[in-house]
């Protein structure tokens, strides 16, 4: 894992001192509220419905056990004993007091963390595949690249007052688990088909929100050493030409859409041609320094499949189910990557109590080289677990209430904070997630349905990624009533697609039945081994539309009664 050196440490301490000063200058009137707002946002401080909210950056979703324990402490001391993991691999505290925030920032700096650029019109926290460095299918661990981008983008003098927020995601595998085409820039580490050189493929102009768009290919192959110069060129084109007259048209996706990807690419390349990449790039020693932090931990050599796990699974059905859904193939024989579900049936997606954070930190120390990841599915990951130890780990998770066997299943729901916390919300999203989760809570039922991603947003801003959910749910407000639009066929992976609307909005109470009907159509039509998403791709939206619009007789009777 990356660890701050003296320069990173000094830089972050300076930022805490700077923010302390800015808070003081806001209070004494040197800064107006309008001037203070972007400065506060750049430090992750939002003003929400009930309180301030603090968003903590977890760069590329990687955490150490020491850092997670510190988050537990902050949650206990300054919040209500829990934190909320988000789809941006960040952690949010919903109840801190403004006057406590500089102290919280100090506690974060003590463990090499910060809130810098988790909000505001700047380059946000860079996200990455949560299985980085563990996945068997990776060309290369994307985290050294993400860390380089983190440093380069931190308080970039030229790009701190962009037209709008800017999000970069990186994946090291062809199988996209980082939703790179839903980001302003998506970066895929690739091997050149002819030379074999490792470099990057870049997409630009993805984004969700009120105008969802899938990122477009802007550069098929970029040598690694050119990355920062290319990013500088692209950001410069956006900073100069991105629209500033209308905040809803200010994202780079709109610029790319309006001038076309060819013209956009030509402008970036013209800017790039005028730069000297070597003068901007990190030198090879610096790249090697960063890479060294991400070297594989001291794995031992084991057979690919642990006999112990086979035996444990045979005698413990609950463990067997959990292994089936919540483990992921590891590049190192005899190891597995584990998803720690933050989606207990009927619970709040992404919430973890301070006690649970400590439990995960302890389990990471015991079984995963002290390393934890946050996934954009709002779950935690223990990336490097010896298969022989899976049962011991699972036993610990059961004790902490964290052993739900539902990774990737219908109750593994992504939901934004919605009307329970968010000032922009038009409807609730957490209670909708809870209702669906309860409806499909049976372990057998979930397994029978198989892989299915439901994503819920409480307003058109799409923080819950509903556009790219296999089933997407968007909460709106219609004449004082919550109204939920349901979409189908979204996809956040390398097959990125925006979901299509199934029909008119429905009430909160109707949502679980509607999901039930969609699942019914799938179960009735699926081929052997075909997932929900695959079935939707094959069948198209029509059969599902029909199912969505036609309540079952039992429901109709129920509604009439």
């Amino acid at each position: 894992m990356y660890r701050y050196d003296q320069f990173d440490e000094a830089f972050v301490r300076e930022r805490v001192a700077q923010f302390r000063g800015q808070v003081a200058r806001r209070i004494d009137g040197a800064l107006t509220e309008d001037e203070f707002k972007p400065l506060r946002l750049k430090n992750g401080v939002y003003l929400q419905l009930h309180a301030y909210m603090l968003r903590i950056a977890i760069p590329y979703g990687t955490l150490s056990s020491v850092q997670l324990r510190q988050l537990a402490l902050i949650g206990e001391r300054y919040d209500r004993g829990y934190g909320h993991f988000t789809t941006r691999q960040n952690l949010q505290f919903n109840w801190p007091k403004l006057r406590d925030i500089p102290d919280i920032l100090d506690l974060l700096a003590d463990v090499g963390m910060h809130c810098i650029q988790t909000s505001g019109n700047c380059i946000r926290n860079t996200t990455a595949d949560h299985f980085s460095g563990a996945a068997a299918d990776e060309v290369e661990d994307p985290r050294p690249t993400a860390e380089l981008i983190r440093q380069w983008s931190t308080m970039h003098p030229e790009f701190d007052y962009l037209p709008r927020k800017f999000k970069i995601a990186v994946t090291g595998a062809a199988r996209d688990r980082a939703a790179i085409r839903a980001h302003d820039i998506g970066i895929q580490v690739v091997r050149h088909p002819v030379s074999g050189e490792v470099g990057y493929r870049l997409f630009v102009g993805g984004g969700l929100g009120r105008t969802p768009m899938i990122g477009k290919l802007v550069r098929d192959f970029l040598p690694k050493a050119h990355l920062l110069a290319y990013l500088q060129s692209l950001m410069r084109v956006y900073n100069l030409e991105g629209r500033r007259d209308n905040k809803y048209k200010a994202r780079v996706k709109i610029l790319v859409h309006e001038i076309g990807i060819e013209e956009f690419r030509a402008r970036v390349e013209a800017e790039f041609a005028a730069l000297d990449p070597a003068a901007i790039a990190a030198d090879p020693d610096e790249v090697a320094r960063i890479e060294a932090y991400f070297a594989a931990p001291a794995f031992a050599t084991f057979p690919a499949d642990s006999q112990r796990v086979v035996a444990d699974r045979a005698r413990d059905a609950a463990f067997d189910r959990w292994v089936e859904t919540n483990t992921f193939p590891h590049r190192q024989p005899g190891y597995a990557a584990v998803t720690v579900s933050l989606k207990p049936v009927g619970g709040v997606p992404g919430d973890a109590t301070s006690d649970q954070m400590r439990a995960v930190a302890d389990l990471a120390d015991a079984h995963s080289f002290g390393e934890i990841r946050v996934s954009h599915h709002q779950n935690l990951i223990l990336p490097h677990v010896r298969q022989d130890e899976l049962h011991a780990l699972w036993t610990g998770l059961v004790a902490a209430g964290l052993a739900e066997a539902n990774a990737g299943l219908i109750t593994d729901i992504i939901a934004c904070p919605g009307l329970d916390y968010c000032a922009l919300a038009t409807a609730r999203s957490i209670p909708i997630a809870q209702a669906i989760s309860r409806r499909f809570g049976s372990a057998e039922r979930q397994r029978e349905i198989g892989e299915l991603g439901i994503k819920i947003s409480g307003c058109i801003n799409a923080c819950g990624h509903h556009h790219v959910g296999h089933i997407g749910i968007l909460g709106l407000e219609k004449s004082g009533q919550e109204s939920y639009q349901v979409t189908l066929g979204g996809d956040a992976t390398e097959n990125a697609a925006i979901g299509q609307l199934l029909g008119p909005g429905i009430t909160a109470e109707e949502v679980p039945d509607a999901i039930e009907r969609l699942v019914g159509v799938y179960l009735a039509h699926r081929h052997d081994g075909e997932t929900f998403a695959e079935a939707v791709r094959r069948l198209g939206i029509e059969p599902f539309k029909a199912g969505f619009l036609a309540p079952q007789p039992a429901e109709a009777a129920h509604a009439a009664a």
Partner: protein
């Protein structure tokens, strides 16, 4: 409007020339449209500056850069960041004169402004009143080093690491 550079507030030696007004004086600041005529009629040793909107692009200015002592770029609002890129482009194109930010920029942006190639800022009276010199100097002092190589005079964090490695290499 008050003028300020890294040393503090100071008198402005530049005279703004309105459209149609004769461009007389030691240092004249003119609009882009008037620039060719003013350069053509330049008196000996007269310094000429141009004042532009942040929507002006480098190619609009390139032909004149060798003749100019000052480029003043407007900030319609402090959070309209286009001028940061324009200033950088001027510097990368080799412009050696002064670059000025004109508008409601705030002290908290001073480090970024300087790093992108601005030398001075001309701010509205209200901002000068709320943000005295000490706050601008304080803002500059609030950054020891930044990560971006080539922005600002000091060595970047990457360059400092390199120097440290070289030092360690030499010592061992």
């Amino acid at each position: 409007m008050p003028l300020l550079d890294a040393h503090g507030y100071r008198a402005d030696p530049w005279r703004r020339i309105a459209a149609g007004e004769p461009a007389t004086g030691d240092a004249v600041l003119v609009a882009l449209a008037d620039l060719p005529a003013v350069i053509a009629g330049r008196s000996n040793a007269q310094r000429i500056g141009v004042e532009v909107a942040n929507t002006v692009r480098l190619p609009d200015l390139s032909a004149f850069l060798g003749q100019l002592d000052l480029v003043a770029i407007a900030f319609p609002a402090f959070n309209d960041g286009r001028a940061f890129s324009l200033a950088r482009q001027l510097r990368e194109a080799g412009f050696k004169g002064a670059v000025r930010a004109v508008g409601p920029v705030i002290a908290d942006q001073f480090t970024h402004l300087v790093a992108c190639g601005f030398d001075e800022v001309e701010v509205p009276d209200a901002i000068a009143a709320r943000q005295p010199e000490a706050q601008w100097r304080g803002a500059l002092a609030s950054y020891g080093a930044t990560y971006q190589t080539g922005y600002g005079a000091g060595a970047s964090i990457l360059e400092r690491r390199r120097a440290l490695r070289a030092g360690q290499g030499a010592a061992s």
